[in-house]
């Protein structure tokens, strides 16, 4: 092999490349000594991975688990209250217990709304999220809702069958169905006239007493299922998934790097953009194309309990916790803001924190129910703040932390 023998003599150019790559990839001790000394033993990936791991620990222990615990507690209380309502015999008792059930619903719904931005792992869908089991849609399927279906089930009483949840679509149960069952103030139904419920007189045949009774029984079954699924979610996180997130990039079977876990949390935060900003506020405000009127109160999330504004507040508080890695006043918490500060993007961190705080304050300035205040300038202002936050999420935050948007993994890059 004359050719290789000839070429194996090092030349100045060859030495240039050797030096270049030695320089580029070994990087010399001058820029590494300090950092190496500061790394605790057993942590690979330098200070950046260490920061991300601290972030993940904080998110699991201060954000995800506490939220899911509140969710499990609140839905358990909801179950008890709704079962009491269903078993109340006299009409006086029923009125009181319905009020108790409604109050429990409001508390539980706030807990569910706080969990909305945390659709990760078992709570997330199985297309976007590692370990996703679609638990969220079983607990709350909005914006996929069908009140006519709920009315139909009220009449058919299929909820009393053991395989009801196996055979039914998510629109027949969950928080959205429960809201219809607990807060419907009249005895009409939401199905079109040609639906068999009306055309065959099935709804009328049930009578007012039957409707009240069936709604209460149906609500008890649905509330029990929400409580069961919330308990399952909490257990999944406590038994294993929380640990998977904590150990991302080290011993996790789910996340090979801490950046993968970060990407997934970021993907779950896109609820802010799609659901919170656009669907919960943009559409009712008549800003998006789906609303052809000046405003569209029918597009609001909570049609019966009139909790739309409170649910937006709950979403924002959860978003704020994600940013801070816990409660805003917890100095030990490590959230996106701390990661940004680690990247020297302090101004962005401050801007995000300020805008989020402003958004929460702006919700306080809007009166509830939101349906009656859609045309007020305060509501428009709230939307603008959400839009500013959404823009920062999609532009500087994603770019600075090298976060991949959902679906980015399809195909290649260069």
């Amino acid at each position: 092999m004359v050719y290789l023998t000839k070429c194996s003599n090092p030349t100045r150019s060859s030495l240039f490349y050797t030096a270049l790559f030695a320089w580029a990839f070994s990087l010399g001790s001058s820029c590494s000594d300090t950092q190496k000394e500061e790394e605790p033993p057993g942590v690979d990936g330098g200070v950046q991975a260490l920061a991300r791991q601290a972030f993940l620990l904080s998110q699991v222990d201060n954000v995800f688990l506490p939220t899911y615990e509140r969710l499990a507690d609140a839905t358990k209380s909801l179950q008890i209250a709704v079962e009491a309502y269903a078993s109340a015999s006299s009409s006086d008792n029923q009125t009181t217990s319905q009020k108790d059930a409604q109050d429990a619903f409001i508390t539980a719904s706030a807990a569910i709304q706080e969990a909305e931005l945390l659709q990760l792992g078992p709570y997330g869908d199985n297309v976007t999220f590692f370990g996703g089991t679609d638990l969220r849609n079983r607990i709350y399927s909005w914006p996929v809702v069908n009140t006519c279906k709920v009315d139909e089930e009220t009449v058919d009483a299929a909820y009393s069958e053991t395989d009801f949840f196996t055979n039914s679509l998510v629109t027949a149960y969950g928080l959205d169905a429960l809201e219809r069952l607990l807060f419907s103030s009249d005895f009409s139904n939401t199905c079109p006239n040609q639906h068999s419920l009306n055309s065959q007189g099935r709804w009328d045949a049930l009578g007012e007493a039957g409707i009240i009774k069936n709604r209460a029984e149906y609500a008890a079954v649905v509330a029990a299922k929400i409580a069961e699924d919330s308990e399952t979610l909490l257990n999944e996180w406590k038994m294993g998934f929380g640990e998977q997130l904590r150990t991302a990039g080290t011993s996790s079977d789910v996340y090979s790097t801490s950046q993968d876990a970060l990407d997934q949390i970021f993907a779950s935060m896109f609820y802010f953009e799609i659901s919170l900003k656009d669907s919960k506020l943009g559409e009712p405000l008549g800003i998006t194309a789906l609303c052809s009127q000046k405003v569209c109160p029918d597009a609001l999330e909570s049609q019966f309990a009139q909790q739309s504004l409170e649910w937006i507040q709950a979403n924002l508080k959860s978003f704020e916790r994600l940013l801070h890695g816990g409660e805003p006043d917890d100095e030990q918490a490590v959230g996106f803001l701390e990661l940004l500060e680690e990247m020297n993007a302090n101004e962005l961190a401050e801007e995000l924190a300020q805008l989020t705080s402003n958004a929460i304050q702006a919700t306080a300035a809007v009166s509830s129910p939101l349906a009656e205040n859609l045309e007020r300038p305060e509501t428009e202002e709230l939307y603008q703040i959400l839009r500013d936050i959404g823009t920062l999420l999609k532009t500087q935050l994603s770019s600075t932390l090298a976060l991949d948007v959902p679906e980015a993994a399809a195909g290649d890059n260069d």
Binding site: M1, Y3, C7, N9, P10, T11, S13, F16, Y17, T18, L20, F21, W23, A24, F25, L27, S30, C31, S32, Q35, D44, G45, G46, V47, Q48, A49, G249, T257, E273, D278, G282, I287, T288, A289, C291, E341, E342, M343, N344, A345, E347, T391, K394, T395, Q396, S398, S399, T400, A402, L403, V405, P406, E407, A408, A409, A410, G411, D412, N413, D414
Partner: protein, 467 residues
């Protein structure tokens, strides 16, 4: 023409016509085909066909290629399968000419379906396969020869090797030129952002997390792109330069989600090897007997000259490839911001953009805007890709405008709120929000409706502390 010029031209003509071993190009054919089989099968096996072609509601078209449309998922699978089969046929050299034509047309068609799928290395694949159509790369080590479908051929005029070398050299050279800008060289951006997220990469992760790594690697990458093709041309430096190619592309492959790019570059860079290197390697290992006729001599003193028309076409192609990437120089503004001259110019991985975009539509004469999120039409992948690209913003805006004109039965005005963060900078407006883009034509003059690039420096990372 003076006699000196005539003499020079004649010498050049002889040089370009001189027979070179076909072996290296036959190996390139085999590797190229195998690599593309793998690449295309990945798309089918990973479910990317559905995600890239079935999920989007809107596809961005290249000017003049609006006829290239996405078929049903089944059709796309069939198309990918045909192109993959053609790749396999190229690899083994079976029905080579037909296979390479099918591959080139099919692969180019796939690239034309959606601009957001543009990748520099797939553009390179289109060009290389286009060149391969005109080269008899099935003359050696091919099923066509084994089956007697064509006569064996051991040599081919030198211009083929030189053209392929030029093509690959252009990729590296212009990739270096693209890095010759302050963000890359002075701020280590966007590498700084990307490396920060890749510190857990196997083997090299801890190194790339060091504070000085982005700047060091930015400069190393710049010098590598600027010089590697020169060292590959020089026989004495070629082995180490090729080792550098392997090391560089394996490293980038480990660090970034760049799919087939490293493999493609490692394979196509073999065109810089001596044309007879496969036979020499094989004879060295006694796999085949050493044949002086094909093994030790690339050239002979008397050989037929390549016709001038062929060389003219080759020269024209080379000049085109040299000039197309330069067009950004003649367009005012920062190419990283306005993206004019970004595609087909080998500006590989030189910017990180995060964008947000809303279209505001109103009936002409009305005062009320409705807001349309680009996400109503695009997948997240398309959205994140198009947000920083003005021509795509214009294309979708005009589509939305036409849709609403049809829906409302009257003219509409379309304005854009587009915010872009370039290399970690605070988001800045990319498009003039007062400009009605509905009746703008994509004439290439974007200065009328684009905002100037931000003049602030990119994100300067790394404060001296640990969490």
């Amino acid at each position: 023409m003076s006699s000196q010029t005539t003499q020079l031209t004649s010498r050049l003509h002889h040089k370009l016509s001189a027979p070179k071993c076909l072996a290296a190009l036959a190996v390139l054919r085999t590797l190229f085909g195998a690599m593309m089989v793998f690449s295309l099968c990945r798309f089918m096996a990973n479910g990317w066909i559905e995600r890239l072609y079935a999920e989007p509601r809107f596809f961005f078209k290249y000017p003049g290629f609006s006829w290239a449309s996405v078929g049903s998922t089944e059709v796309m699978y069939i198309l990918y399968s045909i192109v993959a089969l053609a790749s396999a046929a190229i690899s083994i050299g079976l029905f080579y000419r037909v296979a390479v034509i099918i591959f080139c047309l099919g692969f180019c068609y796939i690239q034309l379906l959606d601009v957001t799928l543009y990748l520099n290395h797939y553009y390179l694949v289109c060009l290389i396969s286009g060149i391969m159509i005109f080269l008899p790369l099935n003359g050696m080590w091919s099923a066509d020869v084994a089956l007697g479908l064509r006569k064996p051929r051991t040599h081919f005029p030198a211009w083929a090797t030189y053209l392929l070398r030029l093509q690959v050299g252009i990729v590296y050279f212009y990739a270096a030129i693209a890095k010759f800008q302050p963000d890359w060289l002075f701020y280590g951006q966007p590498l700084s952002i990307w490396l920060h997220a890749r510190t857990e990469t196997w083997l090299i992760g801890p190194l790339v997390g060091l504070p000085c790594a982005p700047l060091v690697m930015s400069w190393a990458g710049f010098f590598y792109d600027l010089t590697v093709w020169i060292f590959l041309l020089i026989r004495q430096t070629r082995p180490l330069a090729y080792m550098a190619v392997i090391l560089f592309h394996l490293s980038t492959g480990l660090l970034f989600n760049i799919g087939m790019f490293p493999v493609i570059m490692i394979v196509v860079t073999t065109v810089f090897f001596e044309p007879c290197w496969p036979q020499r390697w094989l004879s060295r290992g006694s796999f085949i007997p050493h044949s002086p006729a094909i093994g030790s001599s690339d050239t002979s003193t008397s050989h037929p000259l390549t016709p001038w028309p062929v060389l003219s076409v080759v020269t024209l192609y080379a000049l085109l490839q040299l000039s197309i990437p330069l067009r950004a120089i003649f367009i005012p503004g920062d190419v990283l911001w306005n993206e004019q001259g970004m595609r087909f110019a080998w500006k590989v991985m030189v910017r990180s953009k995060g964008g947000d975009i809303y279209y505001r539509i109103r009936k002409s004469g009305d005062t009320r805007d409705i807001e349309i999120s680009a996400l109503k039409y695009l997948t997240w992948r398309q959205f994140s890709d198009m947000c920083g690209q003005p021509d795509l913003i214009l294309q979708l805006g005009k589509h939305i405008g036409s849709e609403y004109e049809h829906r409302w039965g009257q003219p509409v005005e379309v304005r854009v709120d587009a915010w872009v963060s370039l290399n970690g900078r605070p988001p800045a407006r990319l498009v003039d929000p007062t400009m009605n883009i509905q009746h703008l034509t994509d004439s290439g003059n974007y200065s009328r409706w684009l905002m100037p690039a931000p003049n602030t420096p990119p994100l300067i990372m790394y404060k001296a502390s640990t969490p």
